[in-house]
Amino acid sequence: MSSEFPATTFPRRDFLKAGGALLVGLTFAPGVGAQQPPGGAIAGPFTPDPEQLDTWIAIHADNTATIFLGYVELGQGNSTALLQIAAEELDLDMSQVLAARVETGKSPNQGGTNASASINRGGPRIRLAAADARQALLSRASERLGAPVERLTVSRGVVSVAGTPGQTVTYGALIGDRRFDVPYTGKAPVKDYRDHKVVGASLPRNDIPAKASGKYVYMQHVRVPGMLHGRVVRPRGQGAYGDGARVVRLDADSIRDIPGARVVRRRDFVGVVASEEWNAVRAAQQLRVTWDQPESLPTSPAALFERMRAAKTIDSVVMDRGGVDAAFAAARHVVSHRFDSPYQIHAGFGPNCAIADVKADSAVVMCSTQGPYATRAKIADVLEMPEGNITVRYYEGSGTFGRSCYDDVAQAAAVMSQETGAPVRVQFMRWDEHGWDNFGPAHTADVKIAANADGKLVAYEYHGWQHTWSVTETTAQLAAGRAASEGQDGRAQSLTPTNTGEMYALPNWRIVNHRVPGLQGYFKGAPLRSPLDLAISFGAEQVVDELAYLADMDPYIFRRQNMNGDRWLAVLNAAAEAAKWSPRKAAAALSKSRVVRGRGIAVGTHLSSYGAAVAEIEVDRNTGVIVAKRMYGAIEAGQIVNPGFVENQISGMLVQAASRMLKEEVTFSRTNVTSVDWVSYPILRCSEAPEVFPVVVKRQDQPSTGVGEEVIAAAAAAIANAFFDATGVRLREHPMTPSRVMSALRRA
């Protein structure tokens, strides 16, 4: 089992005590210069000072470097890719750079590892810090070797004087064991992208060998001495977020026969602890609790969408360009439809897990958060303890794909440790994870788009309804009595020009966001990989396809003449080329066979990059089963640090998009969520997975943007469009399950 600091961990405090580091960091003060990237490290109390260079990089006496990242490894490879950037600028070999475990108080606060931010926002900072470090090291080397900086070259951290063999000094000898005390300038020269050797290479991930052999320490493996095993006890499946959950009666005697098991209760928070894990699991299932379960949920999925549309929404016109109404009135082809998208679950493969050790005036919490500093604040809230007394230490869990219930489980462990006075490890059961997740919110839309006789888009109008994301975690609600609360409208939780229409050149364009009050009969919401984008593309890209059909045009050719700029056009072309797309009108050759085939194309984005996809599917007209056979996904995300990682992300997005489009939907009764495991919430299986063909469109001269979410929307919509090509019928709600397919085919 893991020790507290495995080999990959570098305890900063001890290191500083030993005086052993070149510590280089970045400053994020305004006015640093034009190359200063947006976003970045957040200064604050109990946070390593981003103005201090030693927040970012340490060079050791053995000529290796530790890089302090604020972003966490989630299985996407960022802890390798960010090291590639550092190694490149420092002229170190990849074997000489190591990422420190992310921990509050030791790691910089760069905000959450979300919105595909690691390379996008984190990359430039590491690059500039490494460049500063290199320059400072060269200046010292110049003194030591008695040669001007211009004559110095570096390889694997060994500085040499050009033309003078044998005259060398290592980084470690120059600085290891001493502090550098050089401020970050943000102005040290960085390498020209054409000189990159490490950046842009498909190097293997650092974490995979240990993951393949069983040596990797996931959060679920961590144990600490004297620890109790805890489980939460809640209704099977959440009810309405605004209602919380209320205990009517709790029978502590009902677990009396289980050795060592006892109830931990604070207000309406109920858990059990035991020294043996199986006893905690049994006790959580056996404990008799009667809950007040109001019938606040809609009577059906259809009623959910009606409730959203009938709600007293907060409406905002996000975009109103040109004269939309007049353009529709004058247009040759107008298509207008409603689309519905369900709640979906993050459904991490290993339920979230945390260990908390809470003392009278301090606490250590180990968990799999995407944002250790944000989690620290949430822990402080439930413990009623100053943030500075709390340490949150990151351990990777299973892929989270957004804000699943990792903060909830961390708060639960903290509360249970505070109540019992012992370290407590809480792992959610599968029904906790599925049933009490912060779901990707449901979305309903009215989409109306028009084209002229030449197939040029002339008007686009999108009305979307959804609630925003929950702020209060369930444990805070139940244990601390915190009221349910929601986030503000913001990028990714409401409609924006970026996610709604910007891929097309639109002379007349209107977007209206209808914010639904999410505390009145809805579920907890949170960003789920590519939040909102899948739903938006599902509607908008189908309507664009229908316009192509009305204009008697191939859907790829139709899009090609409407794309907004060269970068969109390039990624669309890349997907079409990969699929060897030959132009023809969709649904031009409908077959009467039992199994019919179709292909679809679509574009989409998340916040910053360009995505396009082609799907080839089969539909069994007797059973309604859709199988995605082959999927092609293209991304353009500026400079690519590791093409292999990006291909892996694209592949995963294509298959996951198929899963979300064909299978995934939260189900519920009037009182509770009822999709609480892999049977009631099926996801795509191996036998159903499409062959995938990822394409990375490289623009190494451009800043890097995100790659973790940017193809989902295109891939999902491509499947929807392929269904029309195969059947001549449109599906306007997903998932595209056999029963939906059969009723749509019958209606046609």
Binding site: I208, A212, G397, R430, D677
Partner: protein
């Protein structure tokens, strides 16, 4: 109450309630990191181990059911492979573990305990599986990161490395 079982070729006595699911014994008593909790319902394959060479779900298998049997976890796969193939010594990794690394197949990797255990079972029974046979055999092992295509490639690569397949 003590139960005798063999885990990764080491026979030991386990003092635990006989109805305890094997997974908790492996994780807590034996501190193994291969099998891991995913659902507790035998739905996902995260906890898979081999018992006498057959893949089972340790989250629903009581300790008493494996008494006297031979359990192989991800950690013990190289030695199990050596035994199966009468090799003089165990390789560092099972060929499928190596293939997973070579293909860079996984993302978070949490499910790969089960993917590798099930894939190793398949290759031991059928050294040259077709893609369809691979898909069928692996169908009970879910992957939320949706890395199925690369996992299939890894099994094909391992098959080639083991002197089988195409």
């Amino acid at each position: 109450m003590a139960t005798t079982l063999t885990v990764n070729q080491r026979t030991q006595s386990i003092d635990a309630a006989p109805d305890t699911p094997l997974l908790y014994i492996l994780s807590n008593n034996l501190e193994l990191q291969g099998p891991r909790f995913g659902c507790g319902l035998a739905q996902c394959g995260s906890c898979s181990v081999l018992v006498d060479g057959v893949e089972i779900r340790s989250c629903v298998t009581p300790l008493s059911a494996v008494a006297g049997k031979s359990v192989t976890t991800l950690e013990g796969l190289p030695a199990w492979y050596a035994q199966q193939n009468r090799l003089a010594s165990a390789p560092e990794l099972h060929p499928l573990q190596q293939a997973v690394i070579d293909e860079q197949a996984m993302q978070c990797g949490y499910c790969y305990n089960g993917q590798i255990i099930k894939g190793a079972e398949l290759l031991s029974k059928n050294p040259q599986p077709t893609v369809e046979q691979i898909r069928t055999a692996m169908n009970g092992h879910l992957c939320r990161c949706a890395t199925y295509p690369r996992m299939i490639k890894a099994i094909q690569r391992a098959s080639r490395a083991m002197g089988g397949g195409r």
